[in-house]
Symmetry: C2
Subunit: 196 residues, 2 copies
Amino acid sequence: MSNDQIPGYTMGEDSVQEASISMEEFEQLKQSVMFTEEDEEYLQEAGDILESQIDDILDVWYGFVADHDFLVYYFSQPDGEPIDEYLDRVRDRFGQWIRDTCDTPYDEAWLDYQFEIARRHHRTKKNQTDDVDAVPNIDLRYVIAFIYPITATIREFLDDGEHDSDKVDAMYHAWFKSVVLQVTLWSYPYVHDGDW
Amino acid sequence: MSNDQIPGYTMGEDSVQEASISMEEFEQLKQSVMFTEEDEEYLQEAGDILESQIDDILDVWYGFVADHDFLVYYFSQPDGEPIDEYLDRVRDRFGQWIRDTCDTPYDEAWLDYQFEIARRHHRTKKNQTDDVDAVPNIDLRYVIAFIYPITATIREFLDDGEHDSDKVDAMYHAWFKSVVLQVTLWSYPYVHDGDW
Protein backbone atom coordinates (compact mmCIF):
# COMPACT_ATOMS: atom_id res chain seq x y z
CA MET A 1 0.00 0.00 0.00
CA SER A 2 1.55 3.31 -1.00
CA ASN A 3 1.26 6.20 1.43
CA ASP A 4 -1.45 8.03 -0.50
CA GLN A 5 -3.70 4.99 -0.28
CA ILE A 6 -3.65 5.04 3.50
CA PRO A 7 -6.87 6.62 4.73
CA GLY A 8 -6.24 9.90 6.52
CA TYR A 9 -2.47 9.67 6.38
CA THR A 10 -1.08 13.16 5.76
CA MET A 11 2.59 13.27 6.70
CA GLY A 12 4.38 15.90 4.64
CA GLU A 13 1.18 17.50 3.40
CA ASP A 14 0.53 21.24 3.62
CA SER A 15 -2.49 20.61 5.83
CA VAL A 16 -0.22 19.56 8.70
CA GLN A 17 0.54 22.40 11.11
CA GLU A 18 4.06 23.18 12.19
CA ALA A 19 5.36 21.44 15.29
CA SER A 20 4.93 23.22 18.62
CA ILE A 21 8.65 22.91 19.36
CA SER A 22 11.77 23.76 17.40
CA MET A 23 14.22 21.20 16.05
CA GLU A 24 16.61 22.41 18.76
CA GLU A 25 14.11 21.61 21.51
CA PHE A 26 13.48 18.27 19.80
CA GLU A 27 17.22 17.63 19.96
CA GLN A 28 17.15 18.08 23.75
CA LEU A 29 14.28 15.62 24.00
CA LYS A 30 16.27 13.12 21.97
CA GLN A 31 19.18 13.54 24.36
CA SER A 32 16.90 12.97 27.33
CA VAL A 33 15.90 9.54 25.95
CA MET A 34 19.57 8.86 25.01
CA PHE A 35 18.68 8.76 21.32
CA THR A 36 21.77 8.91 19.08
CA GLU A 37 22.72 8.56 15.41
CA GLU A 38 23.44 4.90 16.09
CA ASP A 39 19.81 4.47 17.09
CA GLU A 40 18.81 5.97 13.76
CA GLU A 41 20.77 3.26 11.99
CA TYR A 42 19.39 0.49 14.21
CA LEU A 43 15.88 1.68 13.48
CA GLN A 44 16.51 1.52 9.74
CA GLU A 45 17.64 -2.07 10.12
CA ALA A 46 14.63 -2.79 12.32
CA GLY A 47 12.39 -1.39 9.60
CA ASP A 48 13.77 -3.90 7.10
CA ILE A 49 13.04 -6.75 9.50
CA LEU A 50 9.59 -5.56 10.52
CA GLU A 51 8.26 -4.66 7.04
CA SER A 52 7.02 -8.14 6.16
CA GLN A 53 5.61 -8.67 9.66
CA ILE A 54 3.56 -5.50 10.02
CA ASP A 55 0.26 -7.31 9.80
CA ASP A 56 1.30 -9.82 12.46
CA ILE A 57 2.47 -7.02 14.75
CA LEU A 58 -0.83 -5.21 14.34
CA ASP A 59 -2.66 -8.46 15.14
CA VAL A 60 -0.80 -8.59 18.47
CA TRP A 61 -1.54 -4.96 19.31
CA TYR A 62 -5.17 -5.09 18.22
CA GLY A 63 -5.55 -8.36 20.11
CA PHE A 64 -4.28 -6.66 23.24
CA VAL A 65 -6.79 -3.84 22.83
CA ALA A 66 -9.60 -6.29 22.04
CA ASP A 67 -8.88 -8.19 25.26
CA HIS A 68 -9.64 -5.12 27.39
CA ASP A 69 -13.05 -3.48 27.21
CA PHE A 70 -11.70 -0.31 28.78
CA LEU A 71 -9.35 0.01 25.78
CA VAL A 72 -11.87 -0.95 23.07
CA TYR A 73 -13.90 1.90 24.56
CA TYR A 74 -11.71 4.45 22.75
CA PHE A 75 -12.69 3.01 19.37
CA SER A 76 -16.36 2.90 20.29
CA GLN A 77 -19.41 5.06 20.13
CA PRO A 78 -20.34 6.66 23.43
CA ASP A 79 -23.07 4.00 23.78
CA GLY A 80 -20.38 1.31 23.76
CA GLU A 81 -20.52 -0.09 20.22
CA PRO A 82 -17.05 -0.52 18.61
CA ILE A 83 -16.78 1.13 15.18
CA ASP A 84 -15.26 -1.39 12.76
CA GLU A 85 -14.53 1.11 10.00
CA TYR A 86 -12.66 3.31 12.47
CA LEU A 87 -10.62 0.37 13.71
CA ASP A 88 -9.76 -0.58 10.11
CA ARG A 89 -8.72 2.89 9.03
CA VAL A 90 -6.60 3.40 12.14
CA ARG A 91 -5.00 0.02 11.50
CA ASP A 92 -3.65 1.10 8.13
CA ARG A 93 -2.13 4.22 9.64
CA PHE A 94 -0.75 2.22 12.57
CA GLY A 95 1.10 0.02 10.08
CA GLN A 96 2.54 3.09 8.42
CA TRP A 97 3.50 4.38 11.86
CA ILE A 98 5.79 1.36 12.24
CA ARG A 99 7.48 2.31 8.96
CA ASP A 100 7.75 5.97 9.95
CA THR A 101 9.23 5.06 13.33
CA CYS A 102 11.99 3.19 11.51
CA ASP A 103 12.42 5.80 8.75
CA THR A 104 15.18 7.83 10.33
CA PRO A 105 16.58 10.44 10.61
CA TYR A 106 13.50 12.28 11.85
CA ASP A 107 13.07 15.52 9.90
CA GLU A 108 10.78 18.51 10.33
CA ALA A 109 7.92 16.85 8.47
CA TRP A 110 8.18 13.90 10.84
CA LEU A 111 8.22 16.18 13.88
CA ASP A 112 5.27 18.21 12.58
CA TYR A 113 3.34 14.99 12.08
CA GLN A 114 3.92 13.85 15.67
CA PHE A 115 1.93 16.86 16.81
CA GLU A 116 -0.77 15.97 14.29
CA ILE A 117 -0.89 12.43 15.72
CA ALA A 118 -1.13 14.03 19.16
CA ARG A 119 -4.14 16.13 18.15
CA ARG A 120 -5.83 13.07 16.66
CA HIS A 121 -5.54 11.24 19.98
CA HIS A 122 -6.64 14.26 21.95
CA ARG A 123 -10.12 15.80 21.74
CA THR A 124 -8.61 18.61 19.63
CA LYS A 125 -9.06 16.44 16.53
CA LYS A 126 -10.11 12.95 17.58
CA ASN A 127 -12.61 11.32 15.19
CA GLN A 128 -12.32 14.09 12.56
CA THR A 129 -9.88 12.27 10.29
CA ASP A 130 -12.17 9.27 10.02
CA ASP A 131 -15.46 11.15 10.35
CA VAL A 132 -16.68 8.89 13.14
CA ASP A 133 -18.66 9.52 16.31
CA ALA A 134 -16.48 7.61 18.75
CA VAL A 135 -15.76 8.84 22.28
CA PRO A 136 -14.17 12.29 22.12
CA ASN A 137 -10.73 11.70 23.63
CA ILE A 138 -8.12 8.99 24.11
CA ASP A 139 -7.29 9.57 27.73
CA LEU A 140 -3.64 10.38 28.21
CA ARG A 141 -3.09 7.71 30.84
CA TYR A 142 -3.50 4.97 28.25
CA VAL A 143 -1.36 6.79 25.69
CA ILE A 144 1.50 6.78 28.19
CA ALA A 145 0.77 3.29 29.52
CA PHE A 146 0.98 1.90 25.98
CA ILE A 147 4.71 2.59 25.96
CA TYR A 148 5.10 -0.79 27.61
CA PRO A 149 3.09 -3.11 25.34
CA ILE A 150 4.15 -1.31 22.14
CA THR A 151 7.78 -1.71 23.16
CA ALA A 152 7.88 -5.12 24.81
CA THR A 153 5.94 -6.94 22.11
CA ILE A 154 8.24 -5.77 19.30
CA ARG A 155 11.28 -7.73 20.42
CA GLU A 156 10.12 -11.13 19.18
CA PHE A 157 9.52 -9.63 15.74
CA LEU A 158 13.02 -8.15 15.64
CA ASP A 159 14.51 -11.51 16.58
CA ASP A 160 14.25 -13.06 13.13
CA GLY A 161 17.02 -15.62 13.64
CA GLU A 162 19.42 -13.77 11.35
CA HIS A 163 20.84 -11.31 13.86
CA ASP A 164 22.73 -12.02 17.07
CA SER A 165 21.08 -11.07 20.34
CA ASP A 166 23.29 -7.98 20.82
CA LYS A 167 22.07 -6.60 17.51
CA VAL A 168 18.46 -7.45 18.30
CA ASP A 169 18.85 -5.71 21.66
CA ALA A 170 20.32 -2.64 20.00
CA MET A 171 17.38 -2.40 17.59
CA TYR A 172 14.97 -3.04 20.43
CA HIS A 173 16.44 -0.23 22.53
CA ALA A 174 16.36 2.17 19.60
CA TRP A 175 12.68 1.31 19.21
CA PHE A 176 12.08 1.78 22.95
CA LYS A 177 13.71 5.22 22.86
CA SER A 178 11.66 6.24 19.85
CA VAL A 179 8.38 5.14 21.40
CA VAL A 180 9.11 7.13 24.57
CA LEU A 181 10.15 10.11 22.45
CA GLN A 182 6.95 9.98 20.42
CA VAL A 183 4.61 9.50 23.37
CA THR A 184 6.31 12.47 24.99
CA LEU A 185 5.42 14.56 21.93
CA TRP A 186 1.88 13.15 21.81
CA SER A 187 1.23 14.35 25.38
CA TYR A 188 1.52 17.99 24.26
CA PRO A 189 -2.14 18.94 23.63
CA TYR A 190 -3.30 17.32 26.88
CA VAL A 191 -1.20 19.53 29.11
CA HIS A 192 -1.84 22.92 30.72
CA ASP A 193 -0.13 25.83 28.97
CA GLY A 194 3.41 26.17 30.24
CA ASP A 195 3.49 22.82 32.04
CA TRP A 196 4.69 20.62 29.17
CA MET B 1 18.56 5.41 56.84
CA SER B 2 15.09 4.73 58.20
CA ASN B 3 12.11 6.25 56.42
CA ASP B 4 11.49 8.96 59.01
CA GLN B 5 15.03 10.26 58.53
CA ILE B 6 14.47 10.93 54.83
CA PRO B 7 13.83 14.65 54.37
CA GLY B 8 10.30 15.31 53.15
CA TYR B 9 9.36 11.66 52.71
CA THR B 10 5.74 11.24 53.80
CA MET B 11 4.36 7.99 52.39
CA GLY B 12 1.62 6.68 54.64
CA GLU B 13 1.28 9.93 56.59
CA ASP B 14 -2.06 11.64 57.16
CA SER B 15 -0.83 14.71 55.30
CA VAL B 16 -0.93 12.81 51.98
CA GLN B 17 -4.17 13.35 50.08
CA GLU B 18 -6.15 10.46 48.70
CA ALA B 19 -5.34 9.31 45.17
CA SER B 20 -7.33 10.85 42.32
CA ILE B 21 -8.31 7.38 41.06
CA SER B 22 -9.82 4.33 42.71
CA MET B 23 -7.98 1.05 43.19
CA GLU B 24 -10.23 -0.36 40.46
CA GLU B 25 -9.07 2.28 37.98
CA PHE B 26 -5.51 1.60 39.11
CA GLU B 27 -6.09 -2.07 38.32
CA GLN B 28 -6.99 -1.17 34.73
CA LEU B 29 -3.83 0.87 34.40
CA LYS B 30 -1.82 -2.09 35.66
CA GLN B 31 -3.44 -4.26 33.01
CA SER B 32 -2.60 -1.74 30.32
CA VAL B 33 1.12 -2.03 31.18
CA MET B 34 0.75 -5.83 31.46
CA PHE B 35 1.61 -5.71 35.18
CA THR B 36 0.83 -8.99 36.96
CA GLU B 37 1.34 -10.66 40.33
CA GLU B 38 4.47 -12.26 38.89
CA ASP B 39 5.87 -8.79 38.34
CA GLU B 40 5.23 -8.03 42.00
CA GLU B 41 7.40 -10.98 42.92
CA TYR B 42 10.13 -10.07 40.46
CA LEU B 43 10.21 -6.55 41.86
CA GLN B 44 10.67 -7.88 45.38
CA GLU B 45 13.64 -9.90 44.19
CA ALA B 46 14.94 -6.86 42.33
CA GLY B 47 14.70 -4.88 45.54
CA ASP B 48 16.96 -7.35 47.33
CA ILE B 49 19.55 -7.03 44.56
CA LEU B 50 19.37 -3.26 44.26
CA GLU B 51 19.40 -2.39 47.98
CA SER B 52 23.19 -2.40 48.37
CA GLN B 53 23.65 -0.57 45.05
CA ILE B 54 21.26 2.33 45.56
CA ASP B 55 24.03 4.88 45.90
CA ASP B 56 25.69 3.68 42.71
CA ILE B 57 22.39 3.81 40.82
CA LEU B 58 21.78 7.36 42.01
CA ASP B 59 25.29 8.29 40.88
CA VAL B 60 24.38 7.13 37.37
CA TRP B 61 21.07 9.01 37.32
CA TYR B 62 22.49 12.19 38.86
CA GLY B 63 25.42 11.95 36.46
CA PHE B 64 23.00 11.83 33.55
CA VAL B 65 21.19 14.93 34.81
CA ALA B 66 24.48 16.72 35.50
CA ASP B 67 25.60 16.09 31.92
CA HIS B 68 22.66 18.08 30.53
CA ASP B 69 22.21 21.73 31.46
CA PHE B 70 18.58 21.66 30.34
CA LEU B 71 17.96 18.97 32.99
CA VAL B 72 20.03 20.56 35.79
CA TYR B 73 17.78 23.57 35.15
CA TYR B 74 14.94 21.91 37.08
CA PHE B 75 17.06 21.78 40.24
CA SER B 76 18.20 25.36 39.82
CA GLN B 77 17.15 28.84 40.78
CA PRO B 78 15.48 30.78 37.99
CA ASP B 79 18.78 32.63 37.50
CA GLY B 80 20.47 29.32 36.70
CA GLU B 81 22.31 28.41 39.89
CA PRO B 82 21.85 24.73 40.91
CA ILE B 83 20.68 24.33 44.53
CA ASP B 84 22.89 21.73 46.21
CA GLU B 85 20.70 21.25 49.26
CA TYR B 86 17.71 20.58 47.01
CA LEU B 87 19.66 18.03 44.98
CA ASP B 88 20.77 16.29 48.18
CA ARG B 89 17.31 16.11 49.73
CA VAL B 90 15.76 14.83 46.51
CA ARG B 91 18.53 12.24 46.29
CA ASP B 92 17.57 10.66 49.60
CA ARG B 93 13.95 10.40 48.51
CA PHE B 94 14.98 9.07 45.10
CA GLY B 95 16.82 6.24 46.85
CA GLN B 96 13.73 5.46 48.85
CA TRP B 97 11.74 5.55 45.60
CA ILE B 98 13.82 2.61 44.36
CA ARG B 99 12.85 0.68 47.50
CA ASP B 100 9.19 1.66 47.20
CA THR B 101 9.12 0.63 43.53
CA CYS B 102 10.25 -2.84 44.58
CA ASP B 103 8.05 -3.01 47.69
CA THR B 104 5.05 -4.73 46.14
CA PRO B 105 2.13 -5.25 46.17
CA TYR B 106 1.18 -1.61 45.74
CA ASP B 107 -1.45 -0.62 48.29
CA GLU B 108 -3.61 2.46 48.72
CA ALA B 109 -0.90 4.34 50.62
CA TRP B 110 1.46 3.69 47.72
CA LEU B 111 -1.10 4.87 45.18
CA ASP B 112 -1.90 7.97 47.24
CA TYR B 113 1.79 8.77 47.37
CA GLN B 114 2.20 8.59 43.60
CA PHE B 115 -0.16 11.52 43.30
CA GLU B 116 1.85 13.34 45.97
CA ILE B 117 5.02 12.70 43.94
CA ALA B 118 3.12 14.03 40.91
CA ARG B 119 2.22 17.27 42.70
CA ARG B 120 5.83 17.69 43.80
CA HIS B 121 7.01 17.52 40.19
CA HIS B 122 4.23 19.79 38.99
CA ARG B 123 3.92 23.45 39.95
CA THR B 124 1.09 22.43 42.33
CA LYS B 125 3.69 21.68 45.01
CA LYS B 126 7.15 21.86 43.49
CA ASN B 127 9.79 23.31 45.86
CA GLN B 128 7.44 23.34 48.87
CA THR B 129 8.71 20.10 50.41
CA ASP B 130 12.28 21.36 50.42
CA ASP B 131 11.49 25.05 50.91
CA VAL B 132 13.62 26.06 47.94
CA ASP B 133 13.22 28.69 45.24
CA ALA B 134 14.00 26.56 42.21
CA VAL B 135 12.14 26.87 38.89
CA PRO B 136 8.41 26.34 39.49
CA ASN B 137 7.70 23.20 37.44
CA ILE B 138 9.38 20.06 36.11
CA ASP B 139 8.08 20.12 32.57
CA LEU B 140 6.12 17.01 31.76
CA ARG B 141 8.11 16.21 28.64
CA TYR B 142 11.15 15.35 30.72
CA VAL B 143 9.12 13.38 33.25
CA ILE B 144 7.91 11.14 30.42
CA ALA B 145 11.23 11.08 28.59
CA PHE B 146 12.95 9.84 31.75
CA ILE B 147 11.16 6.53 31.39
CA TYR B 148 13.98 5.49 29.11
CA PRO B 149 17.10 6.29 31.16
CA ILE B 150 15.52 5.24 34.46
CA THR B 151 14.60 1.90 32.90
CA ALA B 152 17.55 1.13 30.65
CA THR B 153 20.24 1.95 33.22
CA ILE B 154 18.81 -0.42 35.85
CA ARG B 155 19.54 -3.64 33.97
CA GLU B 156 23.28 -3.74 34.72
CA PHE B 157 22.52 -3.38 38.42
CA LEU B 158 20.03 -6.27 38.32
CA ASP B 159 22.60 -8.47 36.60
CA ASP B 160 24.62 -9.29 39.70
CA GLY B 161 26.09 -12.52 38.36
CA GLU B 162 23.93 -14.69 40.59
CA HIS B 163 20.82 -14.86 38.40
CA ASP B 164 20.45 -16.25 34.90
CA SER B 165 19.63 -13.82 32.11
CA ASP B 166 15.98 -14.91 31.93
CA LYS B 167 15.50 -13.99 35.57
CA VAL B 168 17.34 -10.69 35.12
CA ASP B 169 15.12 -9.95 32.12
CA ALA B 170 12.00 -10.76 34.12
CA MET B 171 13.02 -8.38 36.90
CA TYR B 172 14.00 -5.76 34.34
CA HIS B 173 10.60 -5.95 32.61
CA ALA B 174 8.77 -5.73 35.93
CA TRP B 175 10.79 -2.59 36.64
CA PHE B 176 10.01 -1.19 33.17
CA LYS B 177 6.28 -1.76 33.67
CA SER B 178 6.37 -0.10 37.07
CA VAL B 179 8.23 2.96 35.80
CA VAL B 180 5.70 3.43 32.98
CA LEU B 181 2.86 2.91 35.46
CA GLN B 182 4.24 5.51 37.85
CA VAL B 183 5.03 8.10 35.19
CA THR B 184 1.48 7.66 33.94
CA LEU B 185 0.21 8.52 37.43
CA TRP B 186 2.66 11.42 37.76
CA SER B 187 1.25 13.05 34.61
CA TYR B 188 -2.10 13.60 36.33
CA PRO B 189 -1.78 17.21 37.62
CA TYR B 190 -0.34 18.42 34.31
CA VAL B 191 -3.38 17.49 32.26
CA HIS B 192 -6.57 19.36 31.41
CA ASP B 193 -9.63 18.27 33.41
CA GLY B 194 -11.21 15.25 31.76
CA ASP B 195 -8.31 14.55 29.38
CA TRP B 196 -6.24 12.28 31.61
